[in-house]
């Protein structure tokens, strides 16, 4: 099997994640989809690392995880506080970004 298949899988997962971001209204699920996209990227990085025979790709994936963790912490905090204020976790309810 050609390890390139890992890349195709990564692309597929990324696309599914992106579609989820677009379709779902629950902020938490949207957030999960974002995580899915990040994980897809990580998979690609790891596969690249293997192909090129150096560890830099894994390092990047590692950093991605760290950043993702930070992001989740802040993002969930935001969701919680938004929920407190508006009693809703729907992204459509926060539609104030218009003139």
């Amino acid at each position: 099997m050609n390890p390139v298949n890992y890349l195709y899988l990564a692309a597929l997962l990324f696309t599914i994640g992106a579609a989820g971001v677009l379709i779902r209204r629950n902020a938490i699920v949207v957030f999960m989809c974002v995580e899915l996209m990040l994980n897809a990227c990580n998979l690609a990085f790891v596969a690249f690392s293997r192909m090129h025979g150096n560890l830099d790709g894994q390092i990047i994936a590692f950093f991605t995880m760290v950043v993702a963790a930070a992001e989740v912490v802040v993002g969930l905090a935001i969701i919680v506080s938004v929920f407190r204020a508006r009693h809703s976790a729907s992204v459509d309810d926060a539609s104030l970004m218009k003139l």
Binding site: A18, V21, L22, I23, D92, L96, K98, L99
Partner: protein, 631 residues
């Protein structure tokens, strides 16, 4: 001696500067300062004249170069003066008559609180006029030319609180500007043709230039002359200019400034000599104006406007003479000088009459004034005799010469011009007699003015009568001094050139005809105004009379075509500017705004909607990248 030339201009210029910037402190002495500096200019002029007489005829021209005015690549305009016989004649006329009128104004303007400023303007005028006649190139002449225009504007509108005066001043300046346009185009043509516009080189090189170019220059110069000298078709401003104080009318609009056009044509003699077509146009303009002014002069009841018509007509004579070429130049200038004396005298007389009559100008409300104002009557009378060409007085000599020269033009043209000038002489006699009779003879017809002041006609003070007397002397004797023995011809010949004209009929016959038509004119006027009482309210009159009262409808034409047309044009342009030029821009702005309004709807505030566009954008970017790599 040539270093004195600048002082001729400098003295009155200094006066103008001091008087106009000096402020109220100078109110008490202002008129003396002004008069003194004008007199100083006259004195310098006399000294230079004496010096000039001492030299041989061909060696009389003086030059003084002060500095380069506009030094630009290929374009040199100097502040430089040229004093030759022609300029000298003008210098003496301007500063001499100017000084007299300064003296006269001391009395005439005594009760005007802005007398200092009046003298400042008068000095400014004298300076500009002297600059005009002393310039040694056309551009500096243009400087003086516009300068006298400015002075004329300021003086006509001196009583600015009167809307009519302000309008008249503006009109004079604008009409003059049309003429100035001609002068500046003429200078441009000269510059492109000759590379210079100094009198000497330009006039010397006329032989090499094509006739078409010279005709163009000539016609443009004529346009300038028409504007300044109130010739048809640019004559309309002169009558209105009588709104100015009477000394102004005498100095500027009778004796000096309005004759600048004649000076310009005579100065450019070489150009006109080489451009016969232009000369023809000059003659036609002169002839038309000569009749036009005379006819207008017959119909006016306002004494100053009647005299203004006369001025127009007399300058028509001069222009006509100047258009005749070398046979006429000298006589044009000669008539100019004699006219300067008698017309200034007549205006000062008119001013004196007005002074005694509570500023009444309607001749129908004069009558029988000779008993009340003997000095004015006598001096005015002498001026009158001079202008109608009474044998022996100055007008007789100069006008007769012009009529002879007109006949001497030769051919049909000569006969027509001769007849026109004779007809003009008759009409001149007619309207001047009318003025004389209505003013000084007959019953007194004056009435109380609107405020109930009954006029008490009285003789004017010495400061006014003395200049009138001196001018009367000039009116009587100048012609004789110039004309007998062709003195004036010999004096000017080196500058203007002279050819003796041979009229198809004998000179004596012309002279007799002149006298005859004059007598007819006087007689007719006497029949109409001397034998019968003059009605206080003007009768309706014939169609021609009514048209002449309205300046032969020329003003109405101007008003209908230029004023109304211009108003419509500017209004519509303002509209175009606002609606079309600006409208296109504002329309663009509005449509961009509308488009943005529609695009704004995409900003629905839903994060997911934005995410779609982001995602789509990314897809497009990837596509673009792949495509670029594929290519």
């Amino acid at each position: 001696m040539e270093n004195l030339i600048a002082l001729l201009v400098g003295a009155p210029l200094l006066g103008a500067a001091v008087l106009l910037c000096g402020g109220r402190r100078l109110d008490k002495v202002g008129h003396w300062v002004g008069t003194l500096l004008a007199a100083a200019s006259f004195a310098i002029g006399l000294a230079l004249f004496a010096d000039m007489l001492g030299k041989s005829a061909d060696d009389r021209a003086l030059h003084q170069r002060l500095y380069t005015w506009i030094p630009v690549e290929g374009f040199q305009a100097d502040i430089a003066f040229q004093l030759d016989q022609l300029s000298m004649t003008f210098v003496l006329l301007i500063s001499g008559v100017g000084t007299l009128i300064h003296v006269y104004s001391i009395g005439y303007m005594e009760h005007d609180e802005r007398r200092r400023r009046f003298f400042g303007y008068l000095n400014l005028f004298v300076a500009a006029m002297l600059l005009l006649v002393l310039a040694d190139n056309y551009l500096l002449l243009y400087f003086g030319w516009e300068g006298v225009g400015l002075a004329s504007y300021l003086l006509i509108g001196f009583w600015q609180h009167k809307p009519s005066a302000a309008t008249a001043a503006k009109k004079a300046f604008l009409v003059n500007r049309v003429g100035d346009m001609g002068l500046s185009i003429a200078i441009m043509i000269m510059f492109t043709t000759f590379g210079t516009f100094t009198f000497g080189p330009v006039l010397a090189a006329t032989g090499e230039a094509s006739e078409g170019t010279l005709t163009a220059i000539g016609l443009m110069l004529l346009l300038a002359a028409c504007g300044k000298s109130a010739q048809v078709p640019l004559q309309s401003w002169l009558g209105d200019a009588m709104e100015g104080p009477t000394p102004v009318s005498a100095l500027i609009h009778a004796a000096t400034m309005v004759t600048a056009g004649v000076y310009l044509i005579v100065r450019s003699a070489d150009i006109f000599n080489a451009a016969p077509d232009a000369q023809t146009v000059v003659v036609v303009v002169g002839a038309v104006t000569l009749l036009f002014g005379a006819i207008v002069g017959c119909a006016k009841d306002d004494i100053k406007k009647a005299l203004a018509g006369s001025t127009m007509s007399q300058i028509g004579y001069m222009i006509l003479a100047a258009g005749l070429g070398p046979i006429g130049y000298v006589f044009a200038i000669m008539h100019l000088v004699t006219h300067g004396f008698f017309k200034a005298g007549l205006f000062l007389g008119a001013g004196s009459v007005m002074h005694g009559m509570n500023d009444e100008v309607d001749m129908r409300r004069y009558g029988g004034l000779r008993k009340y104002m003997p000095v004015t009557f006598v001096t005015f009378g002498l001026g009158y005799l001079a202008i109608i060409g009474f044998p022996g007085l100055s007008g007789f000599f100069s006008k007769d010469m012009i009529i002879e020269a007109a006949f001497a033009k030769g051919g049909t043209q000569g006969w027509i011009l001769g007849s026109v000038t004779l007809l003009g002489a008759a009409i001149t006699a007619y309207y001047m007699t009318r003025v004389m009779l209505m003013t000084f003879f007959g019953e007194k017809r004056w009435q109380a003015d609107a405020e109930g002041h009954e006029p008490h006609p009285h003789e004017s003070p010495k400061s006014m009568t003395i200049p009138m007397i001196l001018l009367a002397f000039g009116s009587v004797f100048a012609g004789g001094i110039f004309g007998v023995g062709d003195r004036f011809v010999h004096w000017l010949e080196p500058v203007t050139g002279y050819a003796h004209g041979h009229p198809p009929i004998s000179a004596a016959a012309v002279t007799s005809a002149t006298v005859a038509v004059m007598v007819i004119g006087v007689g007719l006027a006497y029949l109409q105004y001397g034998r019968r009482p003059v009605p206080v309210v003007a009768p309706r009159g014939s169609l021609l009379t009514r048209a002449a009262r309205r300046d032969l409808l020329q003003d109405d034409f101007n008003h209908a075509v230029f004023v109304r047309g211009g108003t419509h044009l500017t209004r519509s342009l303002v509209y175009v500017d606002h609606s079309l030029v600006d409208g296109v821009v504002n329309g663009t702005a509005a449509s961009v705004g509308g488009l943005s309004g529609r695009l704004r709807k995409l900003q629905n505030g839903y994060a997911r909607s934005y995410a779609v566009s982001m995602f789509g954008g990314t897809a497009v970017l990837i596509a673009a990248t792949l495509l670029m790599r594929a290519v």
